[in-house]
Amino acid sequence: MPNLKDIKVRITSVQKTRQITSAMKLVAAAKLKGATDRATAAQPYQRKLGAVLRNLGDKVGGEITNPLLQRHEQVRKVLLVLLTTDRGLCGGFNNNLLRRAQKWVDERQLEGVEVSLRLFGRKGRDFCRVRGMAVADTQLEYAKTPKMDLVRPLSDHMVAGFTAGDYDEVWIGFNVFVNAATQRPEFHQVLPLSVHSDDAGDAGADAGMTDYLFEPSPQALLESLLPLYLRTLILQAFLETEAGEHGARMLAMDNATRNATDLIGRLTLEYNRARQAAITTEITEIVSGAEAL
């Protein structure tokens, strides 16, 4: 028969766990609000910039070139930037992304492409370490750094590596924030940038308009807008990762809290049964003792 005291101890411990998970859920929910606000607030800028660039790209498409738009004929080396979180307890958030990433890397390597990995977040590092994947660079504990301070050096690194020919393509892998409960791991190609309307959804809005005036010149405009666009793409990825992390954690902690409640219920039932059994035994003993007199 289970020991009364043991069950009591277990109940207390599960209750404590539940307290923690439910607090974490509330914290995640509060952070989620701020993070989604930031992620959605950044969207109009990116969308408008993308639209303007597509206009520009369509109008002057064939005539001008920019190193950031230039496709490399042979793809030998690829940079993959992966955004994971530093902390766990957020369900399959990191694992879904990382497993996809591993598959992605394997496939590219089969094609004979050398993949260089650049990781953000402890979870990504741990994953790659366990699986023996080579990693070029890792950045941990990045959540507290202002996003722009992360984005700027990263985009500079991408641009420098891409123009120097160290990388023929640059990809970024992160969890797209669909809503609080859903995050979808995706891989986006960021370099070479593509600014033609055929690969974007909101084309056609300005169709039929021609003959832009450019100040100072289309070439100069592209030169300053393309790096800006690259940065907004990366920024968006960071913001969505942050929002997704909190969303995933909120959900995971909600489940954990519910499981703890169920478990406490079952344990309490067991405890009461054991208690009743103990009382019954005691009474039987007393009664038979009295009869013996």
Partner: protein
């Protein structure tokens, strides 16, 4: 007929609404946009943007960015944007002095120099407001 104006920073949409006229500090000098403007794409330097609507004008201090103008719309994408009324002139003057000192000390083209140039431009725009 009026213009559809959007002033957008990476953080948020600062202004979105109708306007009769918008004045924008382009890299080649300030330009005004009235309805039926030709399609224009221009880089914008830090400065003051004026949005005029129904006789009222609102002024904003903006950072570097660029503007797209058309017959019925103006889209201004900028690094930063603040209302011109709440500018702290003393802080702006301090930023300008500091930035100018850095510009003198650093070589052209370095990161520090570029940041300082950007700061100086923004500080001047604030003082101008």
């Amino acid at each position: 007929m009026s213009l559809n104006v959007d002033i957008v920073t990476p953080e948020k949409v600062v202004y979105s609404g109708r306007a009769d006229e918008v004045r924008v500090p382009g890299v080649n000098g300030e330009f005004g946009v009235l309805p039926d403007h030709a399609l224009l794409l221009s880089l914008v330097k830090a400065g003051v943007v004026t949005v005029m609507n129904a006789g009222k004008s609102t002024r904003y201090v903006v950072g570097r960015g660029f503007a797209e103008a058309g017959p019925d719309r103006v889209v201004l994408l900028t690094d930063s944007c603040e209302s011109a009324d709440g500018v702290d002139k003393a802080a702006a003057r301090e930023l300008l002095t500091h930035a100018e000192a850095v510009i003198v000390d650093t070589a052209p083209g370095t990161d520090a120099r570029l940041t300082a140039e950007r700061d100086a431009e923004l500080a001047r725009a604030r003082l101008e407001a």
